[in-house]
């Protein structure tokens, strides 16, 4: 088994963690509102769990469909879905209903994170990595349901831990030392990059 899919999962986790819209900024804001560094850390837990749930949904889809469908079909279908999602994200990404505000509790924060990651297609973005990882057994070892489950769980965990680490480091640094002024220049349009990433993932799936 090659290391590359795992490194990709780690890299995408870091990329998701970096995005203020995926949670660290919410954690910082809640910390500022409650005047508590503890709240910053605590908030990261539901944010990470919500993100993990969104990723797990994508993994479950890939693995679940893999039982019934041909891998090529999932690959092409996934690619089309990713490109569709990129277009949707570009056109309608700005108009999500706002359900959770500054008074939200930990459960609300988890649901918010799940919805945010899902709507942004965070899980879908991983599909090009998940297909080779979860659907193809190595030559020496046939793919089994149990093996697939272990690999799937490992994929979700690796990605989420990477996301949590990056988001946690940023949240703490911003809350403790940096402050929010840098957002005015530093908050580059990750949504645009995100759309490109989704579309690129879709193309990769279809072409390769």
């Amino acid at each position: 088994m090659t290391i590359w899919p795992w490194l990709t999962l780690v890299g995408l986790g870091a990329y998701h963690g970096l995005n203020p819209a995926m949670g660290w900024l919410f954690a910082v804001a809640l910390g500022q509102h409650r005047n508590s560094r503890r709240v910053v850390f605590l908030s990261l837990i539901p944010i990470a769990l919500g993100h993990a749930a969104a990723i797990a949904t994508a993994v479950a889809l890939v693995v679940g469909l893999g039982v019934f469908l041909d891998a090529d079909l999932i690959r092409i279908g996934g690619g089309v879905l990713l490109i569709f999602w990129a277009v949707y994200h570009q056109v309608y990404g700005h108009r999500h209903k706002v359900r959770f505000g500054m008074q939200t509790g930990m459960v609300g924060l988890g649901v918010w994170s799940f919805l945010m990651a899902t709507a942004h297609g965070a899980g879908l973005m991983l599909v090009p990595v998940l297909i080779p990882l979860c659907l193809s057994g190595t030559p020496a070892q046939e793919l089994t349901a149990a093996g697939s489950l272990v690999i799937s769980l490992a994929a979700v965990t690796v990605h989420t831990l990477s996301m949590l680490t990056v988001t946690g480091v940023i949240a703490l640094s911003v809350y403790q030392w940096l402050g929010l002024a840098f957002l005015r220049r530093g908050w580059i349009n990750l949504d645009l990059l995100w759309t490109v990433a989704l579309a690129a993932a879709g193309v990769i799936l279809i072409v390769f």
């Binding site: 203020p20 819209a21 900024l25 919410f26 910082v28 804001a29 500022q32 509102h33 700005h94 108009r95 999500h96 209903k97 706002v98 359900r99 959770f100 505000g101 500054m102 008074q103 939200t104 918010w112 929010l180 002024a181 957002l183 005015r184 220049r185 530093g186 908050w187 580059i188 349009n189 949504d191 645009l192």
Partner: protein, 464 residues
């Protein structure tokens, strides 16, 4: 339309917004009280270093006549940086300008030429009525779910009034905001506490009761607005209503603290039926509920009936008629427009329950007709009305007309428009800038002022 870095006029917190560069242009709504020629957004040069300082340097006419331009706002502002619903790469680029009488909604692009905004879209009243059931558009706020617009009634001119949403990118009407209206019927102003997920709304009256001017029987019967409402901002449900009592009429401008961690705000009440006084109230959080307390009383001033309009002769007094208030970005100074007496008051509201009067100027007024050093010919009519504060709190701009149909009830000789500016001291105190007096061109009257890049009633913030 999305940018690579956030709009430079977006600030995470009010503290940071105070350090914004000084505004160079002001946008002012100007309307024709006779409804014959189109209303306009006038552009006033407010750059002291400019040769045309204190004069109108541009104007954009509306497509039709009879809008009654009144209040207006931006398509996007600092709340785009909120963590729960970020839209950091939208631009503060379009003025959203409703007609209070026509119910049309105009979108003006200021980017190509800030001195000559260009109308890029107009939504007709029929479309708004069909999609929302609302009519008579008043306050505009940019917020978490796009552009919020308050409307004072239905197309027939009755209640209920309420709020609807407009997409801040496509400018499509998205529909009625309220999910559960509760007992709320009358509408006027609204704003929110982003830190407490709370919307606050106030009350004027139904269009039928004000479009021909204030109706004395309705006023004396305490049938105009006297309540303030609190809502869940995200569930869009009515939570609580506070009735200020049957002697208080016309609950107008709402100014919540800019600091999102502070759960209080100020609201002005135009008139007390008991003694014609105006009052300022502070709402605040008490346990799990909102509460309100009167913190400022501004009495009527005795006057010779010969100098009073017919409506007031019997009372032998001129009411202050507080019709607009505005709170500085640091939540420290509250400005109070007394449109009847001609006073502009500045209060230190560092302690929101114990305001201290720290400054006062007088200009115009029903009886006083006080002048201004920059005015060419003496007695001025109208009084301090729509007031706007620069983000750093050092410059205060205001105009003198209230509402086409109400102006002649208190100023029967008509109102000649003007716009003035005050300079404010760092620790309080206000004085006229003698070089800033805009003698408004005849045919239009000025109303709300919006400052380039944002001001103290345009933006809300998610971070303290």
């Amino acid at each position: 339309m999305a940018t690579w870095t956030p709009d430079p006029s977006f600030y995470p917190s009010p503290r940071m917004a105070m350090k914004a560069p000084q505004e160079k242009l002001a946008y002012v709504a100007a309307f024709d009280p006779d409804r014959k020629k189109p209303d306009a957004i006038a552009v006033v040069d407010v750059d002291p270093a400019s040769g045309s300082y204190g004069s109108i340097v541009g104007q954009t006419d509306m497509p039709g006549a009879g809008d009654e331009l009144h209040h207006f706002g931006w398509n996007a502002c600092s709340s785009c940086l909120c963590p729960n619903a970020p839209h950091p790469h939208s631009e503060r680029r379009y003025l959203v300008v409703p007609g209070l009488r026509s119910s049309r909604l105009h979108f003006l692009d200021i980017k190509p030429d800030p001195k000559h905004p260009k109308i890029v879209k107009t939504i007709e009243a029929e479309e708004i009525a069909e999609k929302t059931g609302y009519s008579r558009l008043h306050t505009i706020h940019c917020g978490p779910e796009g552009i919020y617009v308050s409307a004072l009634g239905n197309p027939e001119g009755d209640g209920p009034g309420g709020i609807f949403l407009v997409d801040h990118e496509t400018f499509e009407v998205r529909g009625r905001w309220e999910v559960e209206r509760g007992p709320q019927e009358l509408a006027y102003d609204f704003w929110w506490h982003l830190g407490f997920d709370t919307m606050v709304t106030s009350e004027w009256g139904t269009p039928k009761t004000f479009e021909g001017g204030l109706i004395p029987e309705v006023l004396l019967g305490a049938k105009y607005g006297r309540r303030i409402h609190f809502w869940d901002l995200h569930k869009r449900k009515h939570l609580q209503e506070i009735d200020l009592g049957d002697k208080y009429q016309l609950v107008f401008e709402l100014r919540p603290a800019h600091d999102p961690t502070k759960a209080y705000g100020f609201v002005g009440v135009v008139i007390s039926l008991e003694d014609l006084s105006s009052s300022i109230w502070t709402w605040y959080r008490e346990g799990n509920k909102w509460a309100i307390k009167k913190v400022i009383d501004i009495p009527a001033e005795p006057a010779d009936p010969d100098q009073l309009p017919p409506l007031l002769k019997g009372f032998k007094a001129v009411p202050p008629l507080v019709t607009d208030i505005d709170l500085s970005m640091d939540d420290r100074f509250l400005y109070v427009s007394c449109w009847g007496t001609g006073d502009m008051h500045q209060y230190d509201v560092s302690d929101p329950f114990n305001p201290k009067l720290t400054g006062k100027v007088r200009i115009g007024g029903i009886v006083s007709k006080a002048t201004h050093p920059g005015a060419a010919n003496g007695a001025l009519n109208g009084g301090p009305q729509m007031v706007e504060i620069s983000r750093d709190g050092r410059r205060i701009y205001f105009t003198n007309s209230l509402y086409g149909a109400v102006d002649p009830q208190f100023y029967p000789e008509g109102i000649d428009g003007w716009m003035v500016k005050l300079d404010a001291g760092e620790n309080g105190g206000i004085e006229f800038d003698p070089k800033f007096f805009v003698d408004w061109p005849k045919g239009h009257r000025p109303h709300q002022v919006r400052l380039e890049g944002g001001d103290c009633s345009s933006d809300s913030y998610c971070y303290p």
